[in-house]
C-alpha cells in the first residue's frame, strides 16, 4: 500500500449559525485516506460538502472559522492528518476542548477555489503569482523561473512579458482562474487541491489545464485532489473517486466503477448514456449499421416567426481603444434557441450588454422586435422586452423576501397590482419556490437562488431572454432544472440566447450556435455543422461532448448520416435500432409489376434511354427487368458500396470502374432497387458524369431522407423501414444473423419460413 498523505478520521463539522451555511452537520462521520501521488476525485451534488472537505484538508476549517470556545466540540469532532502531521483535532482540557493541530498547510498544500475573483488578492498579475513565492522567501531568480514555468503549464505564456502591467480587472474570468492555478503550481505544493477550479473555462481549456496538472503528477511527487462534476474528466484523470451526499461519503472507488454503478446515479452527474456505454469501442462495434444508415434524428429546424433581433454592422470600442465588437451582423427570429459561445474575451458579454440595452456608445444598428434600441425611449422599455439572467444570482437579488424579489421588476415596468399578484404566484410555482415565498433570498441554497434569479426575470415575460452561463458551478440535476424551464419558455414562444462554455448544453438544447472571436462572428449555424468543423473547434478551444464525438466517428466512417447531438438522441436511435424497426417484403412478382409501370412512365416522360446502368447487386434484377421492358440492349452493372471488400464500413462510397461503349444522345438511366440514403446513387452519378450530364434515376422504392430523389420511383417507404427483397432472402438472413438482429430474423422466418 502506498504512503497515506491524507488521513481523515471520524470528522464531523458544522458551520456556526452566524454564517449563511448554518443548519446541521455539513460533514458527518467522514473517514477518508488519500495516498501519495494519487489523483483523487471528489464528486457529488452541489452543497454535498465537497468544498468543506477541501478546506478541512487545507487546514482552513476549523482554524479559520470563529467558533465559540465552549461549543467547539459541537461544531468539530475527529482528526485530520496531512503529510503525517495533525492539522486539526480536539484536546480535552478540564471541562472544555481546545483546538490543536498545525492549521493552514500552505505551502505544502495548495488550495484553488472555485471563484477566481475572491482569490485574486493583489493588484497585478505578476504580484499575484509571486505572492506565495515571496511568502516562502524564495530568491528573485527562483521566483521568476517558477513564474515562467507555471504560466506555461496553464497556457498563459504569452502574458509573461507584460505580466507586471496587467491589472486584475483586465483579465477575463477564465484567465483569472488560470492565473490563480498557476500561482499555486508555482509554490510546488506536495498536495494540490482543486475545488472546481475551471468553471469559467471553455471545454478545451478545462481539459488542457487538468491534463497539465495530471502531467505534473506524473513527473513529480504531488498528490492531486480534484472536485469535479464532469464524469468525463474524472474518468480520464482520476485514480479513485469519492462520492459525497449530504456530508457523507457514499462510495470511494475507481471512476469506472463509480459511474457504471446504477445505485450511485442519484448522487453523481451522469448522462443517460453512461449506463449504456461502458466502452466506446465495444459500443460502436455493436451498432446496427443498417439501422444507423437509415436513422435521422428529428429536430426542430424552421423558425417562421417574426424577427426578434436584427443587428447590422455593430461596433464597440472601449475607452482605451480596445475593440470589443468588430462589425457584428446577425438576425435572430422569434422562438429560436441560440447559444452564444467563444473564448474568454471574445466579445460575448459586451454584445449581450448591447442587446440588453445597458451599453451605449456603440456604432451600427440594433433592432429588437423592429424597434431601434439606439433611441433612448426604446432603450428604457427594453427590460420589459429583453430579460437578462446573470451567471451569479447574488448580483441580482435586491430584496429580502422571495416574493418581493419577483415583484421588484414587475413594479419597475409598471405592471398592475392584481397582475403582479397573479404573476408572482405563477412564476414561483413554475420554478418550484412557492413554499419559500416568505423566506429571505440571501439564505436560499445556491440552486434555489439561481431559480429565483431566473423567476424574477421570466415573470416580466420578456420576448427575448439572455441567460449567462446557466450551468456554471452547478451539478447536472440543477443544470437540467434550469434548462428545462428555458425549454418550456422557448416552446411557449420566447427567444432564448444562452451564453455558455458548456458544449453539452449547446449540443442538447440549442438549434443554432453563434461562435464569436475577437469581436466578430466566426460561425453561425447548426451545432451539428459546427461539430464537424475541426479547425474551427480547435481555433475556438471548443470540445465536442462525448455523445457527439461518438456519433462523429460513425458519420466519418459513413455509417451514420447525421451527428447525434445528445444522450436523448442516442437513446432515440438505440430505441429505433432495437424496437422501432419495421420490415416489408418486396416480392419478385411485385417488382415485375413496378418495373412494368415505371417503364411506361419513363417512355412517356423521357423517352428511351441510350443505356441502363444498374448498381450491383441490389439493382441487378430491376435493371434486367427494365432493360426488357424498355428494349434497351446496352446494360451495364457498376459496383458501389459503403463497405470495403472485407465488409468493413468505409468513409466514402467505393465506386467500381465502368466503361460505356456508346454515344449518349438522349440520357442514361441509372437503376437501383431502393434509394435509401441515396449516397451510393449520388456517387455513381458523379462517376457517370464523364459520359453525360443527362442521367435519370429510377428506383422501385424511395425513402424521404435520401440525398437523391429519383426521377422515377414506384412508392415511398418510411425512413425507418427495412425493405427485404425476395431475391435477397439469404443475404438478408445472413446480415441479420451477423448483427444478432432478433426482430429481423423473426421477420425472415415468418415470411420465408426457417
Amino acid at each position: 500500500m502506498a504512503d497515506t498523505v491524507i488521513d481523515i478520521r471520524d470528522v464531523f463539522w458544522q458551520y456556526p449559525n452566524v454564517s449563511e451555511r448554518s443548519g446541521g452537520f455539513k460533514i458527518e462521520n467522514l473517514n477518508l485516506k488519500i495516498y501519495r501521488n494519487e489523483f483523487f476525485g471528489i464528486t457529488g451534488a452541489t452543497g454535498s460538502g465537497k468544498s468543506t472537505i477541501c478546506q478541512l484538508i487545507a487546514g482552513l476549517i476549523p482554524h479559520q472559522i470563529k467558533v465559540p470556545q465552549d461549543q467547539l466540540d459541537k461544531h468539530f469532532r475527529g482528526e485530520v492528518y496531512v503529510l503525517g502531521e495533525l492539522v486539526s483535532g480536539l484536546r480535552k482540557e478540564g471541562n472544555s476542548y481546545v483546538l490543536i493541530g498545525k492549521g493552514s498547510m500552505a505551502p505544502e498544500v495548495g488550495l484553488v477555489m472555485q471563484d477566481p475573483e475572491s482569490q485574486f488578492l493583489t493588484m497585478s498579475a505578476l504580484s499575484e503569482i509571486t505572492l506565495g513565492l515571496q511568502i516562502m522567501g524564495l530568491p528573485r531568480d527562483e521566483i521568476m523561473k517558477r513564474v515562467k514555468e507555471a504560466l506555461s503549464m496553464v497556457s498563459l505564456d504569452d502574458l509573461y512579458p507584460i505580466l507586471d502591467k496587467i491589472h486584475p480587472s483586465e483579465l477575463s474570468g477564465g484567465q483569472k482562474q488560470r492565473l490563480v492555478i498557476a500561482s499555486f503550481i508555482a509554490m510546488r505544493p506536495r498536495i494540490l487541491i482543486l475545488d472546481e477550479p475551471t468553471s469559467d473555462l471553455d471545454s478545451a481549456g478545462k481539459m488542457e489545464i487538468i491534463e497539465a496538472i495530471s502531467n505534473l503528477k506524473e513527473k513529480g511527487d504531488i498528490t492531486v485532489i480534484l472536485v469535479e462534476h464532469d464524469p468525463e474528466i474524472l474518468k480520464r484523470f482520476a485514480d479513485r473517486v469519492a462520492v459525497l451526499s449530504e456530508g457523507r461519503i457514499v462510495a470511494v472507488d475507481s471512476p469506472e466503477s463509480i459511474f457504471s454503478n446504477p445505485d450511485l446515479r442519484k448522487y453523481v452527474e451522469v448522462s443517460e448514456l453512461e449506463g449504456i456505454i461502458q466502452d466506446d469501442e465495444e459500443f460502436l462495434k455493436k451498432i446496427d449499421i443498417d439501422a444507423a444508415r437509415s436513422y435521422r434524428p428529428t429536430r426542430k429546424e424552421e423558425y417562421a416567426g417574426e424577427m426578434a433581433i436584427e443587428v447590422k454592422e455593430l461596433h464597440y470600442q472601449y475607452p482605451d481603444g480596445a475593440k470589443a465588437l468588430n462589425g457584428i451582423d446577425l438576425e435572430i427570429k422569434k422562438g429560436e434557441f441560440v447559444a452564444l459561445i467563444g473564448q474568454n474575451g471574445s466579445g460575448k458579454s459586451t454584445f449581450s450588454k448591447v442587446l440588453s440595452g445597458y451599453l451605449t456608445g456603440w456604432r451600427g444598428e440594433v433592432r429588437i422586435f423592429g424597434e431601434d434600441i439606439s433611441k433612448k425611449k426604446v432603450r428604457e422599455r427594453i427590460p420589459a422586452i429583453v430579460g437578462y439572467v446573470f451567471q451569479n444570482p447574488d448580483h441580482q437579488i435586491f430584496n429580502r423576501r422571495v416574493d418581493t424579489e419577483i415583484e421588484y421588476g414587475l413594479r419597475n415596468i409598471g405592471v398592475r397590482d392584481d397582475e403582479i399578484k397573479k404573476r408572482v404566484e405563477e412564476t414561483l410555482a413554475r420554478v418550484g419556490l412557492l413554499r419559500k415565498r416568505d423566506e429571505d433570498p440571501l439564505f436560499l441554497s445556491r440552486g434555489e437562488k439561481r431559480r429565483l434569479a431566473l423567476a424574477s426575470v421570466i415573470a416580466m415575460r420578456p420576448g427575448v431572454l439572455i441567460v449567462d452561463e446557466p450551468t456554471t458551478g452547478q451539478d447536472y440535476r440543477m443544470s437540467r432544472e434550469i434548462m428545462d424551464i428555458l425549454m418550456e419558455l422557448n416552446r411557449e414562444g420566447s427567444t432564448i440566447i444562452v451564453i455558455t462554455h458548456d458544449m453539452r448544453l449547446v449540443a442538447e438544447y440549442c438549434r443554432r450556435v453563434i461562435v464569436m472571436k475577437r469581436g466578430r462572428i466566426i460561425f453561425d449555424g447548426k451545432p451539428e455543422v459546427l461539430f464537424e468543423k475541426e479547425e474551427l473547434l480547435r481555433e475556438s478551444s471548443l470540445l465536442a461532448p462525448r455523445e457527439v464525438q461518438l456519433s462523429k466517428r460513425l458519420k466519418q466512417t459513413g455509417v451514420m448520416q447525421d451527428i447525434l447531438l445528445s444522450a436523448r438522441e442516442w437513446l432515440e436511435f438505440l430505441k429505433f435500432e432495437n424496437e422501432k424497426k419495421r420490415y416489408v417484403l418486396l416480392s419478385f412478382q411485385a417488382m415485375k409489376k413496378h418495373s412494368k409501370n415505371l417503364s411506361r412512365e419513363i417512355m412517356s416522360k423521357a423517352g428511351k434511354p441510350d443505356a441502363i446502368v444498374y448498381i450491383e447487386r441490389g439493382g441487378m434484377v430491376i435493371g434486367r427487368l427494365m432493360s426488357d421492358y424498355l428494349g434497351v440492349k446496352d446494360l451495364y452493372g457498376i459496383r458501389a458500396s459503403y463497405y470495403t471488400d472485407e465488409g468493413m464500413p468505409s468513409t466514402h462510397v467505393t465506386v467500381g470502374d465502368i466503361s460505356l461503349n456508346i454515344k449518349v444522345n438522349n440520357y442514361i438511366l441509372l437503376v437501383d432497387d431502393i434509394s435509401d440514403t441515396g449516397k451510393t446513387i449520388e456517387a455513381v452519378i458523379e462517376k457517370l458524369k464523364k459520359y453525360t450530364e443527362n442521367i435519370k434515376v429510377c428506383t422501385i422504392a424511395y425513402k424521404p431522407h435520401s440525398v437523391v430523389k429519383p426521377d422515377f420511383y414506384s412508392y415511398i417507404v418510411d425512413n425507418d423501414t427495412w425493405v427485404v427483397f425476395e431475391y435477397e432472402e439469404e443475404e438478408t438472413r445472413r446480415a441479420f444473423e451477423k448483427r444478432n438482429n432478433e426482430i429481423g430474423l423473426k421477420f425472415i422466418e415468418e415470411t420465408f419460413g426457417k
Binding site: 492549521g103 493552514s104 500552505a106 493588484m123 505572492l131 484567465q175 445597458y358 447574488d394 448580483h395
Partner: protein, 289 residues
C-alpha cells in the same frame, strides 16, 4: 484580456482609467510624483497669491500638465469625464471672483442689481484669470497623477522604503477590494437595469430608493468575498509568513525622476523670486481690454 494589438499591451490600468504604457508619468516613481505634486502645488499657490499674481506662470504650469496628459494618453478620459465639470467650476470661480472682489480702478464693465453696482475691472479680471489658471493647473495635475499611477506601484513603493509587508499588503488588499466592489457594483447596476430599476423618468425619492436597493446585493457579496479572500490568503500561508522576499518588480528612481524634480525645484524658485507676467509684460496686454 482586451488588447489593442496582438501580443502588445499599449495601455496600463491605473487608479483612474488607463494610461499609455511607457509614457513619462507612467514611468515615474510614485514618490517622485508625490514630490512633483507638492513642489508644483506650492509654486502655483505662491504664484497665485503674489501682490501681482503671476498669471503666465500658472498658465505655463497648466499647459505643461495638459501636455503630459496628452503624452500619457489620458486626455481623452478627461475630455469625456471631467473637462466640462472642470471648465464649469473654473468659470464659476472666475465669475465669483469678479463679482465679489471689487478691486482696481480700470473699469471694463459695470452693471447694477437691486441698487448694487458691480464693476469688472482690468485688475480683477487679471487676478481672476491668474487664479483660474492656477486652480486649473492643480486640478489637472491631480488628475494626471491619479491617471498615471498604478495601485501596485504605490504598494511596491511602500515596500521599497521598508514598510512591513503586512501593512503594505493590507493597502494592496484595500485596493483590490475596492476593485472587486467596483466590478460587482457594475454587474449589480446592470442587473438592476435589466429589471427595469434604472429606466424611465422617476422622482428623486424613487431614484434614492433604487440606489439604496443596490446595497442589498452589494453588502451580501462583500461579506461573502471578505470571507473567501481570507480563506485564499490563508491558503497561501499568509499568517505563517516569515521574512519575505522583496517584490520582483519595483520601480527605481532614475534620471527621468531626478530631472523632473529638478525642473520642479527650478519652477518653485522662479515662483518665489520672479514674476513672469511682469517680466514678459503680460500686464500691458490687459490694457488692450
Amino acid at each position: 484580456m482586451r488588447e489593442n494589438r496582438e501580443g502588445e499591451k499599449r495601455y496600463v490600468k491605473t487608479i483612474l482609467f488607463n494610461a499609455r504604457a511607457g509614457s513619462i508619468f507612467v514611468n515615474l516613481h510614485p514618490f517622485t510624483k508625490f514630490i512633483l505634486f507638492l513642489l508644483l502645488s506650492i509654486a502655483v499657490i505662491i504664484a497665485m497669491t503674489k501682490h501681482y499674481p503671476d498669471l503666465m506662470f500658472s498658465l505655463f504650469v497648466m499647459l505643461a500638465v495638459i501636455g503630459f496628459l496628452v503624452e500619457s494618453g489620458t486626455i481623452k478620459y478627461i475630455v469625456k469625464s471631467y473637462l466640462s465639470l472642470i471648465i464649469l467650476a473654473l468659470v464659476v470661480l472666475l465669475i465669483w471672483w469678479l463679482v465679489f472682489n471689487q478691486v482696481g480702478t480700470h473699469t471694463i464693465l459695470s452693471f447694477s442689481i437691486g441698487g448694487y453696482v458691480f464693476r469688472i475691472t482690468r485688475e480683477s479680471l487679471y487676478i481672476g484669470l491668474a487664479k483660474v489658471f492656477g486652480y486649473g493647473a492643480m486640478a489637472f495635475l491631480t488628475l494626471l497623477i491619479l491617471m498615471t499611477t498604478r495601485d501596485v506601484d504605490i504598494v511596491n513603493a511602500f515596500n521599497q522604503i521598508g514598510l512591513p509587508f503586512r501593512q503594505t499588503f493590507f493597502l494592496s488588499l484595500v485596493f483590490r477590494s475596492l476593485n472587486i466592489m467596483a466590478e460587482d457594483l457594475e454587474s449589480i447596476r446592470h442587473a438592476q437595469f435589466a429589471r427595469g430599476g434604472r429606466s424611465g423618468k422617476k422622482n428623486p425619492f424613487s431614484r434614492a430608493k433604487e440606489f439604496i436597493s443596490l446595497s442589498v446585493p452589494l453588502t451580501a457579496l462583500m461579506i461573502k468575498r471578505a470571507f473567501e479572500m481570507g480563506q485564499a490568503l490563508e491558503a497561501r500561508g499568509f499568517s505563517k509568513a516569515g521574512k519575505l522576499s522583496s517584490p520582483v518588480v519595483s520601480k527605481s528612481i532614475g534620471v527621468l525622476d531626478y530631472s523632473l524634480v529638478m525642473i520642479s525645484v527650478i519652477l518653485l524658485y522662479i515662483s518665489l523670486t520672479m514674476n513672469l507676467t511682469l517680466i514678459f509684460g503680460g500686464m500691458q496686454w490687459l490694457t488692450l481690454l
